[in-house]
Amino acid sequence: MSSLHVNLIHRADSGPETLEALRFQLEEAQRLGLQATVLVSYRAFFDSAMMAYLQELRQKRSVEFGIHTHCLVCPDYIEHFKTRESALYYLSRSLKAAVLKRLFELFEKAFGFEPKAIGAYILDAWTQNHIKEAHPGVEVAITNCFEEGVKMYHGNDNSWYLFSDGGPWGPFYPSKESSLCPARDEAEWNGLVALPHLNRDMLMALTSRDDYFSSHPVNLFRARINEGAECPYAFRFINEWNRQLEVNGYAYYSLFVSSPWLADGHWAIENVNEARSLYSDTLGYLRDMVDAGEAVSETMLDTARNFRETKRIGSAEQCHWIDALRSKGREVWWQATPDYRAAIDLNAGASIVDLRPWCGRNDLNMGPEEPALWNGNYPFVISSEHRGGQKRCSQRCVLEVGDQQAELVGARYKVEVADRESFSTDRREARVGDATVKIRSRFDFSKEGCIEVERILEDSDTSLPVRVTESFRGCVGQTEYPEDLRGIVLRVAGADSDATELEFNYDSRTLERKGSGSAQASIPSLRASISLGVEDSDVSLEAREGVMFDPFFELRASRELKPGESLKTCLRISKI
């Protein structure tokens, strides 16, 4: 169905305030005729008033029930498992399995059936595989929080231990090997449909905190973006997700406010009545969209089953986001395939500003016995946000006329034409010394594991040649701190066998070659190779080694262009 797929998800916790808030939420859903999901937490099973209310709902068959893995800690949990660890994802494998077993037993005893939907902030690959093996009836799970990691950690006064940067933003088929990587095919798929915890503002995900700017109306109060109960951004945000239907052919919206956010006394909310008013208005807006045929209200299970009918395993996802917060037209393009996730900032000269080489399927299992321990962030090779901005860490275009140089990063592009495999920008002017050049960019994602970037010189007002360079400045990282780049092998190679290479040792060396070929970086720690290739006899290729104060590798392809000519590069992200 070609409509926005809407989930309205709730978490049942414990305590009279949260029960009252949950009643409010579900009565609003019922009043508006929206499908509702209630994910029951461990603590809720030991709150008799909460369970009595949930049984009422069960008898009315008015909501979908499932399990949520947050809010574990209560006397029964401590007695059974001898731990105060509040995050399921940080338990050992044996404890994860034992806690899940108990949760399923409690659920089945209370409701008489096995749940098909499960919720979490993060479910690592081992846990997802275990769920599918031990509880094969589960079909759908909330598995990750899009771009919740480093910036949220800082914003929460370095106290919120939830690291899941670098994953998909929408529903996907998770791979068995790595929880944030979509499966390539049926054999790689773990059998669950993964849903994100909330939709996020896809621009603020790059530049700010996307927990503030998300499909969680009450978090907008935490961001101080409201005026009393008014917050027009909340509705522009929904519209922007609805627009993704045109871009991606599929769009999903998950409104999930756990009840403490709507209970009196929540630490981030000054006036609970205003928060409830905005919550109700948001539900009303979604109801209007359903009535207009623009959205369809579903349970989590409905969404999973529709997703399986609509999207094939291994297909790509696109998101073209136009600033909904300030409404000033800034654009960003996100592309996700089983091999990589890329973000392209149109506002910064159509540069790739974030790149995760998913093809490596890095182990993100967490817990005391796992190598990753606490860090579930998928590693990046580009992150402008964590590595000094678009000029220091990105794939971008550099222009030279004579001895003058300019960055295309200064050009504020917009998408002019797009389909599901490519987009072209509008034409922008760039000043290079005294010269003005007009240049357009085109991105093509149709080849598996490749991003083709074409910089088209449309015009210039100088008789001097214009040298256009495509530069990939990358590194390895999961946080804002630099990581060890030793072990990376840089190489330049042509179609012939005369490749030259060096092992990264912060020595500021450069490899060069003329003519068709590629500049490559092989990154063993990520099990991934990055290659910037060009089919062009006039091109110059370089691979540059960085230094400790500038810890990057740089892959460059450049040539002189006349108006009407272009430089076309192919960035290949592949497994080693």
């Binding site: 800082h154 914003g155 905190r209 101080r224 981030a268 000033k328």
Partner: protein, 70 residues
């Protein structure tokens, strides 16, 4: 907590807000009425803090915001 300090429940620190840090509620020194932040070094009169926060919200999000100091 010392007796001369009361919690300014409704007023958040503009300096922390500017840095995308979760709402940090300003403290108030009863002796001179100054509002101050426990996390950072921000100190101002409540009126100045409210005015500054309002302007920061306008700058960050392009919106005005009612914020009454209490």
């Amino acid at each position: 907590m010392p007796k001369n300090i009361e919690n300014l429940k409704r007023m958040i620190c503009p300096s922390c807000f500017a840095k995308d840090i979760d709402p940090i509620f300003l403290q108030r020194d009863r002796r001179d009425g100054e509002a101050y932040c426990l996390k950072c070094d921000y100190v101002a009169s409540p009126e100045e803090a409210a005015r500054f926060l309002r302007e920061l919200q306008r700058m960050k999000y392009g919106v005005a915001y009612r914020y009454e100091a209490k």
